[in-house]
Amino acid sequence: MKHWINQHTLVWRLVLARICRNKLATLLIWAVIGIALCLPAILYVIIDNVNQLAGEVKNEPQISVFMKLDADKATVANIKSLLEKHSGISNLKFVSKDSAWKAMQDSALTDNIAANLKHNPLPDAFFIQPKAHAPSAIDQLQHELQTLEGVEHVLADADWAKRLYSILELGKKAVWVLSGLLGFALVTIIGNTIRLQILTQREEIEVSKLIGATDGFIRRPFLYAGTLYGLGGSLAALLFVNGIITIFNLSVADLAELYGSSFILALPDWQISLGITACAVALGWLGSYIAVNRSLARLNPH
């Protein structure tokens, strides 16, 4: 056990000394890895945020049924009783054209508009909350209502949410593809860096191997270095992501204010941060493992 600890502290000291000797090169590698990682991370954070924004909307899908302007009271009452009995509807609210008109005149926002109008342009309307929230169920209900006698137009709020969702799905796929590509790039970058280090330490590796070093012994400092590159790179990435999102937020807050919202992009939470770090460390380890194994294979006895 003491042997084991001794050996590992020795290796860590060696690796840290090497990093200290090549400060600039190490910083550059960290920056490169950081940039490679922060691209998908930022995209993910934005999509995650928009997703949450959409989630708030999704929770209360609403279907608005607007009657034809010339629909008479009997038709409206008929539809009302039909909707009240409908099994797919959990809540129904009827707003008659008169009450809507009155509300419009009373409202401070729209009384100007109302004053300029000579007669009531508003139709009778039903506002429905469906029981099922799935887009397909809402779709079906919307089509069913559209066919009713005296109905002018059925508007499902879910429509734009659905479009947003498909865009978000696409965005998520983009994050995966981008992560995959840049993860591969990361393995290559770290592997190549380690390969160059191996070249400069070829003599040491060769001698160590000749006097009885196991592959594990030779591999260890490079694996640690690769892991450290991954770790430093992921910390750089988190710094970049948090910095960039904070800068974005200045503008996002302005934009959101124009829409009367206080929406800002949330910074990545600790799970995401930990995930990025773990991925980078694992990829750094993998990259250096591949690089060292390739050069070790050349030194084995034949």
Binding site: L10, E204, V207, S208, L210, I211, A213, P301
Partner: protein, 218 residues
């Protein structure tokens, strides 16, 4: 201790470096491997240290068949040997102390225990005052002695040296040979490959003479 039985070694694309070599070296014996350059001396030593594998025949080191060793075991096998290479193979980016430390670190010996043994090894080869010096600042003879210190620091039971006096003048060469003789006297099996006869005559030992890969024992 070391037994070669009808060992041949052929490198791809070249003639046989060794042909049907058989001999035995007992524990604590000193053996010289002689012959002109290209006679297969280095190959013979490499086969002993499991750096190369024989094309045919068996190499036994302490009852272990080197050619049948699993790759995983090879490093542990090599730790039984102290190797002095033809070209020293010193690491020029670290000082004498750290050069000698390498085999100990590989064996997992560090700290005070390692320092003690490194200084003992340096003392034995007369380089104790130079532990902080970089190898490049040492003379050829001193570099060779440093290489020997590195080979003996982990107290191997077999010491193998390839042309240890190759580039040295006579006085240095005699020094080095005396050093090997001293190790032999404390029970270490010593095998030395050399192409010149300097210093050999003064030290008793088994002679393995190679001629174009064929062995003549005297």
């Amino acid at each position: 201790m070391i037994r070669f039985d009808q060992v041949s070694k052929r490198y791809p694309g070249s003639d046989e470096a060794l042909r049907g070599v058989s001999f035995e070296i007992a524990q604590g014996e000193l053996a010289f491997v002689t012959g002109h350059s290209g006679a297969g001396k280095s190959t013979l030593l490499k086969l002993m240290a499991a750096i190369e594998r024989p094309s045919s025949g068996t190499v036994l080191i302490g009852n272990q068949n080197v050619s049948k060793l699993r790759p995983r075991i090879v490093p542990y096998m090599r730790r039984k040997f102290g190797l002095v290479f033809q070209d020293h193979k010193l690491l020029y980016d670290r000082n004498c102390f750290e050069n000698v430390a390498l085999p100990l670190y590989i064996n997992g010996v560090t700290g005070q225990e390692a320092a003690k043994r490194i200084r003992a090894a340096l003392d034995k080869v007369g380089l104790l005052g130079k532990e902080k010096a970089m190898p490049i600042t040492l003379s050829g003879g001193e570099q060779q002695r440093l290489a020997i210190a590195r080979a003996v620091v982990s107290r191997p039971s077999i010491l193998i040296a390839d042309e240890p006096t190759g580039n040295l003048d006579e006085t240095y060469a005699a020094d080095i040979m005396a050093l090997f003789h001293a190790f032999r006297q404390v029970g270490v099996t010593v095998i030395i490959a050399t192409h010149d006869a300097h210093g050999i005559n003064s030290i008793p030992g088994k002679m393995l003479h190679l001629d174009h890969g064929k062995l003549t024992v005297s």
